[in-house]
């Protein structure tokens, strides 16, 4: 979902960059005040992991591919503040080193994949973990649903941004329909990859699942006592 240069007009790109810069500043400050020493290596690991997974385009219907966005996964693993930092690192490196995602569109891309996907992924996961009975399987299921929802909502967010600041005029309903139509399928891949990753981590270090940490922490004794 990397927006290239030229899709979004100047003022909108600038506004998105301002929003992204503000959010990243707050997120970094929050991450910096964490007392937990583990955040440094974990921020590096999750950045590298999301970068690697984003390289793996999988086929979806009709000659189209999709790849993990990773916002939900990052939020589930390291919490929303650090996830915003992680996604910004990934998107920044992709734009500046690999020429993927426009430089002028970096703010838009951070808003879509760093803020919207992270916020939705975190929100859905937190709610589901709170509602579902406590258990490993529930955490994996919650992360799959959170991942799918994050992709679909990010695709809607793109449509909204494009209908306000796109360089051509396309009716918002038409564009949203097309974006959602493709991304309900891309989201399935996101859900599978996110769930597999979370399942693997829950099996070895359930304490490293961050979001809803009080709830997920309750799973730990159940795991270790098995």
């Amino acid at each position: 979902m990397h927006v290239p240069d030229g899709f979004i007009d100047g003022p909108t790109s600038l506004a998105a960059a301002a929003v992204a810069a503000g959010a990243v500043t707050v997120a970094l400050r929050r991450a910096g005040s964490t007392l937990d020493d583990r955040v440094v290596p974990l921020a590096g690991l999750v950045s590298a992991f999301v970068f690697a997974l984003q390289m793996l385009n999988f086929p979806v219907a009709g000659g189209t591919s999709g790849h993990l966005l990773g916002g939900a996964l990052a939020a589930i693993l390291v919490g929303p503040a650090l996830a915003i930092v992680v996604m910004t690192v990934v998107l920044g490196v992709q734009a500046l080193v690999f020429a993927d995602g426009g430089l002028s569109a970096l703010g838009v891309n951070i808003v879509l994949m760093g803020l919207v996907a992270v916020a939705v992924g975190h929100g859905v996961f937190t709610i589901l973990v709170r509602v579902l009975p406590v258990g490993q399987r529930q955490i994996v299921a919650a992360s799959a649903i959170a991942a799918w929802t994050s992709v679909v909502v990010a695709s809607i967010a793109f449509s909204v941004i494009f209908s306000f600041g796109g360089t051509v005029e396309i009716p918002m309903a038409t564009l949203t329909g097309a974006m959602v139509g493709v991304h309900v399928l891309v989201g399935v891949g996101e859900a599978i990859i996110t769930a597999m990753t979370v399942a693997a981590i829950v099996a070895v270090r359930p304490d490293l699942i961050h979001a809803g940490s009080t709830r997920t922490a309750q799973v730990s004794p159940a795991v270790s006592s098995r």
Binding site: P4, D5, G32, L45, F51, A52, P59, V97, I170
Partner: protein, 112 residues
């Protein structure tokens, strides 16, 4: 009760998986247009995209050291990308924490 994996082992194992995915799997990733590119083509705004300012850079389009589309070039880009994102991610958070702790040191000292 099984012994817990140490954080160091966890991070190293995670990085190895990331490197394997980015070098061994990524050359075989699907190269069809992604969801947004597909929609842009179908809705007729794909042509609005302008060239990336760094399109002729040394690592552009996830290719390093070889002509476009070769597996080795993609694998090299994957390895570099994993290394750079790890260092920038960890480094940025380490810097944020250091700045934070130097800010709060004075107020901490007042706490008996």
């Amino acid at each position: 009760m099984k012994r817990q994996t140490s954080l160091r082992a966890f991070v190293i194992a995670g990085l190895l998986v990331a490197v394997a995915l980015a070098t061994l799997v990524s050359p075989w990733a699907n190269s069809n247009p992604d969801g947004l590119e597909r929609v842009a083509m179908d809705e007729g705004f794909a042509g609005q995209a302008t060239d990336h300012a760094l399109a002729s850079g040394p690592a552009a389009d996830y290719q390093i050291g070889v002509s476009s589309g070769e597996a080795w070039g993609t694998a090299a880009a994957g390895l570099v990308g994993v290394a750079v994102t790890f260092c920038v991610g960890a480094g940025l958070v380490a810097m944020a924490r250091r700045r934070r702790s130097s800010h709060t040191r004075r107020s901490d000292a007042m706490v008996p």
